[in-house]
């Protein structure tokens, strides 16, 4: 089938890559572009570990064709906290939120999107925002606690400065 060259802005850098129409974004990111933070988990949109931000919104990169993303802007975990850890990442560390870390990139991006849209989410809103990101280690409590902490007014100033 017709091979095409697509251009993506990934974590601020412009990259071009040759793809088949049937190439899935997660595979292009990992295998052709060497970006390894999004993982392949369920590979059908349920587990959230392949989450990336596409044009500012979290998407399941296992359910997006690479050609669909042509001309788009992608942010992965590698593009978060490049000027030092974000308040959210600091809160994850303070709460020891992750154990194996497989879900961490997806959870971090989902929580980043939530806090951009809703600076003061309720606990239920936090749970809903990460409902599509499965963690098999922690039982979620330290993850939810950290997001709640990162959203506290005390952290808002630091966030605004960023």
């Amino acid at each position: 089938m017709t091979k095409t060259t697509i251009t993506l802005k990934i974590n601020g850098a412009t990259r071009t890559v040759d793809v088949e129409p049937s190439d899935v974004l997660i595979e292009v990111l990992r295998d052709k572009l060497g970006i390894k933070s999004p993982k392949i988990g369920c590979d059908r949109g349920d587990c959230g570990t392949c989450t990336v931000l596409l044009n500012g919104q979290t998407v399941r990169s296992c359910l997006v064709l690479a050609v669909e993303a042509d001309g788009g802007e992608i942010v992965t975990l590698e593009g978060i906290g490049t000027d030092g850890l974000t308040p959210l990442q600091k809160a994850f560390i303070a709460h020891n939120s992750f154990q194996c870390g497989f879900c961490a990139p997806g959870v971090t991006l989902a929580a980043t999107e939530l806090l951009r849209k809703n600076a003061q989410p309720t606990r239920d809103e936090i749970k809903e925002a990460i409902a599509g990101n499965l963690c098999r280690c922690t039982g979620y409590t330290p993850i939810i606690d950290a997001i709640e902490d990162a959203a506290k007014p005390a952290n808002k100033k630091t966030k605004a400065k960023k």
């Binding site: 190439d23 949109g45 989902a110």
Partner: protein, 295 residues
């Protein structure tokens, strides 16, 4: 899992070009909107189109407007767009409530309402809401425009009234008179899950009702028998029991990995009871806020 089946990819900027592509491929092309179902089916080999026609470049399908008493939802509108729309939340809260229960944020950012009804799986959350709002599906094809009432849209498991060279361009919902309503969804847990039972209810001031289900039959449907039992009478315990008995006859749930047939039957009655009360209370202005779980 890579997609092993090869296909061509097109992203037309105009609706006429998309329709021409569907026509040229004579049923061999699939429309790609959010892709959250289609990409899975491509991976699994369930779908094997020769071409994908990506409609995300077509400006005219972006529409989301309430005009002359009619809400038009373009084929590109994602569930996130619907959830964030003040019009949908304010005027069609049952659709808003249902949209919030679809999968997860990352899926809702891509998945479209039009795609949801084209996939036509039995547990699609949007169907009961569209049924109670008496939506009309607008299609374009070689023969021009066709308008199909949502009651005639779902013709079987994953089967719709759409012809292969037709495309859903929008879904229209007439603005109903003053009502209270709800979408009640039973999942295994509060987070992302497919519905085991889904019920949408609209209550009107003259004690008439619109009720529809999903996940308890091969296709989502209005529950006309239940509506007739309830019509014109004040909502009392005895009447609710009669309605539940009728509902049990009108549904034919399956047993699968998510729930047994008996559990679905039982919960449908409980959900109908709570849903009727909540819809009536919301009509009276005393019910829980839309979005509050009734289970």
């Amino acid at each position: 899992m890579p997609i092993t089946h090869p296909f061509e990819y097109y992203k037309p900027a105009r609706l006429v070009d998309a329709l021409a592509l569907l026509h040229t491929h004579k049923g061999g092309a699939s429309v790609l909107a959010g892709g959250t179902d289609l990409i899975v089916w491509l991976k699994e080999g369930v779908a094997a189109p020769r071409a994908l026609v990506d409609i995300k470049g077509i400006k005219e399908l972006e529409v989301l407007e309430l005009k002359d008493g009619m809400l038009r939802i373009g084929a590109r509108a994602t569930f996130t767009v619907l959830i964030e729309s003040k019009i949908v939340r304010g005027k069609f809260p049952v659709l808003w409530e249902a949209a919030r229960t679809v999968a997860s944020v990352g899926v809702r950012n891509r998945a479209t309402l039009a795609g949801n009804i084209c996939s036509a799986i039995p547990c699609l959350d949007s169907a009961p809401a569209l049924l109670v709002y008496e939506a009309v599906v607008v299609l374009q094809g070689p023969a021009g425009t066709r308008r199909i009432p949502i009651t005639e849209w779902f013709v079987g498991l994953k089967k719709t009234a759409r012809q292969p060279d037709e495309m859903v361009t929008s879904i229209e919902l007439p603005l109903p008179k003053k009502n209270g309503g709800c979408y009640v969804k039973l999942g295994r847990y509060a987070g992302e899950d497919l519905a085991q039972v889904g019920l949408a209810i609209l209550a009107f001031a003259d004690n008439t009702w619109r009720i529809a289900h999903c996940a308890v039959a091969p296709t989502p449907q209005r529950m006309a028998g239940v509506e007739t039992i309830l019509a014109g009478k004040p909502l009392a315990a005895a009447l609710i029991s009669k309605a539940c008995a009728r509902a049990a006859k009108d549904i034919s749930p399956i047993a699968d990995v998510r729930a047994s047939k008996e559990y679905r039957q039982h919960m449908a009655g409980i959900m109908l009871t709570r849903g009727l009360k909540a819809a009536a209370a919301r009509l009276a202005g005393t019910g829980p806020a839309y979005g509050t779980s009734l289970l």
